[in-house]
Amino acid sequence: MNVETITIIFLAFIVIGCLIAIETPNLLSAVVCLGVVDIGFTILFLLLKAPDIAITQMVVEVVCLIILIRATVNRDKSADAGERKFFGLMTTITVIIILFMFMMKVVPLFGDFGDPVFLRAANAPSQTYISKGLEDTGAANAVAAVILDYRGYDTLGEATILFTAVIGAIALLRKKPRKKDAHHKIE
């Protein structure tokens, strides 16, 4: 079996997991099905030779699942989605059809599986990263060379986003309102 077939099998696995997570009435079962989806993505990233992304996906998935299970366990409110209205259903179907036709036009431009477009482009940045990354930066891990050396600005923006998100979480989840003369304590 080649990699393309295995990829399609795992993608079907992921789609089935997503559908069950949406349709199941129990919240805890939905969270467990999300875990199945994440495991599928982890194995897929490993098969497609991206171990960095696989490690990050696995670890972040574990933390997210812990938070979600803690939020849903002992709180067995079955999800009540309500009746789907005719207009909403028609909008969903129309958007899916438009996206499908768009993908039918776009996907053939990508070329065959395992033959990326950037291999054909002359002087593509990704080829420079792969061929010159080691001598430019000294990092054997090409991903680390890209995210911390060539694309350091992106990582700085990512760090800023995380910082702002945590500040927002602290501001929203604070127990007592801050007094004017109080010390700047988090709790």
Binding site: T56, V63, N141, A159
Partner: protein, 172 residues
């Protein structure tokens, strides 16, 4: 007969069962060390600051889940986590600005072998010799800063969400 159990329960009134606590006591340091390995080898093997930082914060989250917030906050309190969060972000920025100071460009890899010739000539004049500690320049340093930042912020977000839930159940 039940005395030792009672002592443990009274010592940590909140938290999970004795089995979970014992397993946590054994496993937490291994998770911590594995996270440090992922961070420090981020420029050589798969991994890096983000994944390693989340693994390190997982060990603190494990302690928080198993032993309750009292003991977890003794290891990493909320104020200290907030401080580490800011320190990580600031250190990352300081390394970037140091590139502008030493090599002329913001975010340049001013410690790596090709670009640190000026630094090395300066060191040779001082009689120290070449700087050869970090093979990848600023990449391991930045990995460490990002790991500190990610570890502190993930733990902070998780602790805040967990405390929110505890308060809700008390009100109910």
């Amino acid at each position: 007969m039940n005395e030792p159990e009672k002592i443990i329960v009274s010592e940590h009134p909140d938290g999970m069962s004795l089995v979970v606590k014992t397993v946590t006591r054994w496993v937490k340091s291994f998770i911590f060390i594995f996270g440090l390995y992922i961070v420090l080898y981020g420029h050589l093997t798969p991994g890096g600051g983000f994944a390693g930082g989340v693994i390190v914060s997982c060990s603190f989250i494990l302690v928080l889940l198993a032993f309750g917030k009292k003991r977890a906050f003794r290891k990493l309190s909320l104020e200290k986590a907030g401080m580490l969060d800011s320190v990580g972000a600031l250190g990352f920025l300081v390394v970037a600005v140091a590139g502008a100071l030493f090599a002329g460009t913001f975010f340049v890899n001013w410690l790596s072998v090709p670009t640190s010739e000026s630094l090395n000539s300066l060191l040779r004049k001082m009689g120290v010799g070449d700087f050869r500690l970090l093979s990848a320049g600023t990449i391991p340093v930045n990995n460490i800063w990002i790991a500190i930042k990610v570890c502190a912020s993930i733990f902070l977000a998780f602790a805040l969400l967990a405390m929110l839930r505890i308060n809700e159940t008390q009100e109910e």
